[in-house]
């Protein structure tokens, strides 16, 4: 078909977490510009299966930009060349015929490679389990006007809650810092009345877990926010710093 492309893929292959790993080169023929990047990987895996090779393991689930699973570092950027999208929302029309595309897993000590492009992001789950919740049952959603929340607060909490936990922020950061993720998860709760009562103990517990997992410190380079598919703002990190400082200096018990 006209407009279809021939591409060269260089994909990271690694048998398991103790394998050293290496790049493998694959020639892709007749790729439609309308395919998503993951569909192109489906085509690759079909080829590999047909020739008796092991398919490339990569994470994916919703394929509609909301679950955050599709972690791929494509040509030097998390989720590829476009801003504010996940890999599943990246289409082959973003590439040209003859392109060489290098695909690597997220790189962070706290996100060890499991196999090929799949990394273990359970460190994020443990951070959430440490305090990213409201510990009383707040019941069904109430009538909107029962809990008066200012528009400013509602908008801010909503923007923070857009984080899908993909880990692109960690992947992009030269320090593999999880500050953008943690700050979004702390703020979405601490701004709202349901989350306020536990905000001090929450921020202490979540930051302690973040450090325990081995994520780096924040140098404020801004790489995280620039690569975040949900464009989570850096102001979340300032708010987290403020919250953490207050929790340790003023409110040391609650």
């Amino acid at each position: 078909m006209s407009g279809n492309m021939n591409l060269t893929l260089k994909v990271w292959r690694q048998k398991n977490s103790s394998d050293k790993g290496r790049f493998e080169t694959y020639k892709m023929q007749d790729i439609s510009p309308d395919m998503s990047f993951l569909e192109m990987f489906d085509v690759l895996n079909e080829q590999l299966i047909n020739t008796g090779e092991e398919p490339v393991v990569f994470d994916h689930d919703c394929r509609e930009g909301i679950c955050g699973m599709c972690s791929m570092y494509i040509n030097g950027r998390p989720h590829g060349p476009k801003d504010a999208i996940t890999t599943c929302q990246l289409h082959m029309r973003s590439f040209k015929d003859g392109d060489i595309i290098v695909v690597e897993p997220w790189r962070a000590a706290a996100f060890p490679v499991l196999k090929d492009l799949a990394v273990d992001r359970s460190a994020f789950d443990r951070i959430i389990a440490a305090g990213g919740f409201v510990s009383v049952n707040t019941g069904n959603a109430q009538d909107g006007n029962n809990l008066p929340i200012s528009k400013v607060d509602a908008d801010e909490a909503f923007a923070s809650a857009a984080c899908i936990g993909c880990g692109a922020c960690v992947a992009a950061c030269k320090n593999a810092s999880a500050m953008l993720f943690v700050s979004a998860k702390v703020n979405q709760l601490s701004i709202l009345p349901q989350g306020k009562p536990e905000r001090m103990q929450r921020v202490r517990a979540m930051v302690a877990q973040m450090d325990k997992e081995g994520f780096g410190a924040c140098t404020n380079t801004g790489a995280c926010s620039a690569e975040c598919p949900k464009e989570i703002s850096l102001s979340n990190i300032a708010a987290l710093n403020r919250e953490f400082l207050m929790a340790n200096l003023i409110d040391q018990e609650g």
Binding site: G216, A217, A238
Partner: protein, 222 residues
């Protein structure tokens, strides 16, 4: 764990120390640049020598000087320790990394800081050691202004000072606004102002500092 030690041992607490000491060093730079700029009056160093004499003998300033050294050492050690810890957190680098998502100097604070540190050691040897630990100036054999002329008569020294001011400019270009972010001082209205202020501070101060050896070497200041 005690709340304060919990704070200081956390990644955020370590950065808060960097931000506080960084801002303290910035306030010192402002005073230092102000006093030294007195040489630009081109009055044979009279005003400058008076200023330097005051700074060298005033008790309050001598006390703050001790704090300043403590702050500098803390900032340097903590900064390099953070570089080490952060390298451990990102233990494998990418084969291809675009890097367009952030400025090169925000990612090179450790290198820029190290260049500043090397410069500072030489700089302290040039002036601080001469004025405090020899009788050259206290004994009236020379003045700090004349000492400057001697030091800045050598081309390699001038080049090194100017180069170091580039390191300083880039360190501040990221550091100034970064310190406010670290301390949680972020605001819709004031943050753009802080960024602008930081930008001009980072250009003007190192420029003035760099002009000192240049204008002495070229004989613009007598």
């Amino acid at each position: 764990m005690n709340a304060l030690s919990f704070l200081l041992n956390s990644t955020i607490g370590k950065k808060i120390v960097m931000g506080l000491t960084g801002l303290f060093l910035i306030s010192f730079l402002l005073v230092h640049c102000g006093v030294n700029s007195l040489i630009f009056f081109n009055d044979g160093g009279e005003l400058f020598n008076e200023g330097a004499e005051f700074m060298g003998t005033n008790l309050l300033i001598r006390t703050v000087e001790i704090l300043l050294f403590a702050g500098l050492i803390l900032h340097s050690i903590q900064g390099l320790y953070l570089v080490y810890l952060n390298r451990k957190s990102r233990n494998v680098s990418y084969h291809v990394n675009s890097g367009k998502n952030s400025t090169w100097y925000s990612k090179s604070m450790g290198l820029l800081g190290t260049l500043i540190l090397i410069f500072l050691i030489l700089h302290l040897k040039h002036f601080w050691v001469t004025s405090r630990f020899t009788d050259q100036i206290t004994g009236g054999y020379t003045t700090l202004f004349d000492e400057m002329k001697v030091v800045f008569s050598e081309l390699w020294v001038v080049i090194l000072y100017v180069f170091s001011m580039f390191s300083m400019a880039y360190h501040l270009l990221h550091g100034f606004q970064s310190a406010f972010q670290t301390l949680g001082l972020n605001h819709k209205k004031y943050t753009p102002f802080i960024k602008k202020l930081g930008f001009w501070f980072s250009i003007i101060l190192p420029f003035l500092f760099a002009m000192m050896p240049i204008s002495m070497y070229l004989g613009w200041i007598e």
